[in-house]
């Protein structure tokens, strides 16, 4: 799962008299669960320790999130 696949962007309206420096692009996350109605059988798995660290057994459902990515 590529990190960039899970990010969506949009450009909010920028007014001529906005008080603060405008943020030109805003983003939000669309995690993999949004796209999978039912988990298919026999998916590949992370090794146990990596799965614990990531919080899921399944690479298909892994959603990385890093500080200041917005």
């Amino acid at each position: 799962m590529m990190l960039t696949n899970q990010i969506r962007c949009w450009q909010p309206f920028i007014g001529p008299f906005d008080p603060c420096k405008p943020m030109l692009v805003k983003t939000f996350v669309t995690p993999p669960n949004l796209f999978i109605p039912f988990q298919p059988p026999r998916l590949p798995q992370f090794p146990p320790y990596e799965a614990l660290q990531k919080g899921t057994l399944w690479p298909l459902f892994f959603s990385p999130y890093d500080c200041r990515q917005q």
Partner: protein, 189 residues
């Protein structure tokens, strides 16, 4: 009936002395989309949901208590050694006046937890959709919390919790699919 294992679901490490972060983390302790609300919501809905998904609500509701312990550990580590001055500087002066360093089920703004945060509509689809929404809201809260700290160890625990919200939302969606599929069940002889 529960069996208690005297360890956390995932190790919690906090590396930066930052009591300010405790005030924000408490949102996931006693806030509307926090772990307490989640655990009580699911464990209560179990009684009136179709049999096929009771086990799922039990499992996830139980795991939410494991998450509650992790958040409690984070908050405790961040506040247990804070001086009164540090508590006040972190915006926890009012908390200290009322609770000293004790944890309390309240949100980041100090509003006490209330049962009004959790719904039980008695309609399986309505209840499961509420659960999906709750998981997505908790996921978002973890994102904002990750952005509020530069402590990579604290972030690590928060990232784990965020990932679990995604898996829980997935399982609730699958529960809806199971209930939708009931009409197509054919008896095979």
């Amino acid at each position: 009936m529960w069996i208690y294992e005297k360890k956390l679901q995932y190790p919690v490490r906090v590396s930066k002395c930052d009591p300010r972060m405790a005030k924000f983390l408490i949102e996931q302790y006693g806030g509307s989309d926090g772990e307490l609300a989640a655990a009580l919501r699911y464990l209560n809905q179990r009684y009136t949901i179709p049999d096929k998904v009771i086990g799922l609500l039990t499992d996830i509701g139980t795991e939410e208590f494991a998450h509650l312990e992790m958040i409690a550990t984070m908050v405790y580590k961040l506040t247990k050694d804070a001086t009164v001055q540090q508590m006040e500087a972190a915006g926890l002066g009012a908390h200290f006046a009322n609770h000293n360093r004790a944890l309390f089920y309240e949100n980041a703004a100090g509003v006490p937890w209330t049962a009004a945060y959790i719904a039980a509509k008695g309609d399986p689809i309505a209840d499961l959709y509420e659960d999906i929404a709750a998981e997505e809201k908790a996921r978002a809260t973890y994102q904002w919390l990750i952005e509020m700290t530069d402590d990579v160890d604290l972030q690590d625990g928060l990232k784990f919790l965020r990932q679990r919200e995604i898996i829980h939302a997935q399982r609730f969606k699958e529960a809806v699919e199971i209930l939708k599929a009931e009409k197509d069940v054919k008896k095979v002889f």
